[in-house]
């Protein structure tokens, strides 16, 4: 098995990344949501993100993949400090994001941007498309006033829209067009890094493909880095250089896209992969249908967080008591005590 995705359009970044050549370096990120009011008894916190570390290199796409409630969106928002982290560190271009005051944070946001999932709520219905795109340019004084319309036109063209759309309002556009407008708005401040929070999951398949292609092209032309948050492994395969799979607030496996998809080592990755509905009745692979539900993130199981749903034949007492740490195994990094012998999709049918 090749470790490089066949036919990849992208230069595959080195697997060994040290802090120096990474654009973003996140260490031990924790985000707990405390519920319970002033007078009520405090409920156990929701452990949305429970110790996550990763690196993103310049020009690279790292995908955070997992099911709803796994904490992937909280990671993206916390890095941008749209939410405050509970603890941890995030170094962006050498700057500690979590220690910045408001003014410094505003300046930093020029370099880090976000694209949202819902193309319908992500644009202010009261603002024209042009003023939505111009907003960031004005906030950061990136161009003299008279040059702004030209900038907006160029951005609209770059995302594949007619510059004349600048005078229209968002409700006149389809979901795919709105998503392009959202991308243009993010690009307006010339960021180096964009958090893409499920950017295509609300779109129809044909439009989804257009937006994925657009994001790839923009990455190549502008040298952007993406943190691509998604639940769909097939989508992620199209755009990511590396994939990190999250389960209950933790990364359970991480590796280069081709490697992780062809030789998954964590049972949860195997299950996710086999659940992807592939439009090909001939190649219907054996499916692993996981039993049970996702445990509550406010009360995660002890030991391996996945052990309540795991189908690994070697699952035993150790999984129920001892938390497995991420360790390198055959090309990926996985948090499973028995990752060496994880059943692969082809042979897991009996489980």
């Amino acid at each position: 098995m090749s470790s490089i995705p066949p036919g990849s359009r992208f230069p595959v970044p080195g697997s060994a990344q040290n802090q120096r050549d990474s654009l973003l370096s996140v260490r031990d990120l924790i985000k707990h949501y405390q519920s319970g009011g002033l007078f009520g008894r405090a409920a156990p916190p929701v452990r949305a993100v429970d110790g996550v570390s990763f690196e993103v290199a310049p020009g690279e796409t790292l995908a955070l993949v997992g099911e709803s409630g796994c904490g992937k969106s909280s990671v993206g928002r916390t890095i941008l400090r749209l939410q405050e982290p509970t603890s941890g560190q995030a170094l962006f271009e050498g700057v500690d994001v979590f220690s910045l005051d408001r003014a410094a944070l505003r300046a930093l946001r020029r370099r880090m941007q976000i694209i949202f999932q819902d193309p319908y709520s992500s644009l202010n219905p009261r603002m024209t498309v042009g003023s939505a795109i111009a907003e960031g340019i004005e906030i950061h004084h990136l161009a003299p006033r008279q040059e702004i319309p030209a900038r907006v036109s160029a951005l609209l063209e770059e995302v594949g829209l007619d510059p004349a759309y600048a005078r229209r309002y968002p409700h006149e556009f389809s979901g795919g067009q709105r998503q392009r407008i959202g991308i243009a708005r993010a690009l307006a401040v010339q960021p180096a890094f964009i958090v893409c929070d499920e950017p295509v999951s609300a779109l129809d398949v044909s439009v989804q493909a257009q937006v994925l292609n657009l994001l790839s092209d923009l990455q190549q032309h502008r040298g952007l880095s993406y943190l691509f948050i998604a639940h769909d492994l097939a989508v992620v395969r199209q755009i990511a250089h590396r994939i990190a799979v999250m389960y209950l607030g933790r990364i359970v496996e991480e590796g280069a896209t081709g490697q992780l998809l062809s030789n998954p080592r964590h049972p949860y990755t195997v299950a996710l992969l086999s659940a992807v509905p592939e439009p090909d009745p001939g190649a219907r692979r054996s499916r692993i249908v996981l039993g049970g539900d996702l445990p509550s993130p406010s009360n995660p199981p002890p030991g391996c967080p996945f052990h309540t749903r795991c189908f690994h034949p070697l699952k035993n007492e150790r999984c129920r008591t001892e938390v497995p740490l991420l360790r390198p195994i055959q090309g990926t990094v996985a948090a499973c005590h028995y990752a060496e012998s994880t059943p692969q999709p082809e042979q897991a049918g009996a489980a």
Binding site: E67, V207, L212, S216
Partner: protein, 335 residues
Amino acid sequence: MSRVLEVENLKISFPGGDHTRVYPVDGVSFQLERGQTLALVGESGCGKSLTSLALLQLVPPPGRIETGSVIRLGDTDVLALQGEALRRIRGRRIGMIFQDPMTSLNPVFTVEDQIVEGILAHFKMARAKARERALQLLQEVGIPDPEQRLKAYPHQLSGGMRQRVMIAIALAAEPEILVADEPTTALDVTVQAQILEVLDRLRTSRGMAVLLITHDLGIVAGRADRVAVMYAGQIIEETSTGRLFANPSHPYTQGLFASVPRITGPLKRLNPIRGSVPAPAAWPSGCRFRPRCPKAFDKSELEPPLLPVEPDHLMRCWLAEQQGAGTRQEPGTKS
């Protein structure tokens, strides 16, 4: 095989402003056999959900089903029914489950209340008996610990569990047909797999016919017997699942396939259809896919009927005349 449902030339219209009407569903015909799964596939706005609502006369006002449309359920002319007779069809003979199990369950009643209510609405039996039946149904849809779950309120259940409860409620009346409108779209992939398994099992064990409304070709591949692809209010390709995947023929279907990212096979750049689905008021004359079609030619300016590509494989494209051999059989639709 016996035919349980026949839809012929279904047209649904909505006011389009200035006293005109638009037709989001425009001449749809299909049949459903006992124990069969038919998938209606298409992107948002193609009319697939409206079509399914029409089966129970649930088209929301100001929309209306045009005269000339025929929906036959066995020997029953559904569109001629009203009042009590219509109510006895709803749920009892055609059950429905929807995309969002959160909003389709009443939050102030327990699971038991809602299933038992469903049973008692259609069958005369003692409440205790109905409760027993509810318990069986929960087991049948694979809910662990069903005694406990009967007492639960919807918000205490996960999305997957809620969708199972919805299926159990739909099954309570033992319908001949289950209409599943995007039943797994709001669910995670691992849960989606569970729900699809349940639907599959029920179809075989009960001999139920399933009308599966979905945008996801991946779901169709594993589950459906037949597929009808919809675009702009019309069925544009219809055949068995095997033939569709082996030989997708309509340029729109081909475009859909080229747009879907795959988890296996060589990684290549996606080749999406250009543009997006226009609103019903903006559907072009002639072939409705013409403005986005890479293969459009001069004849596309005339509206194509469903034409045979190969035996038991129809598409609404003039290219079928070049590929398709044999005589032109006129299917149910005359548009």
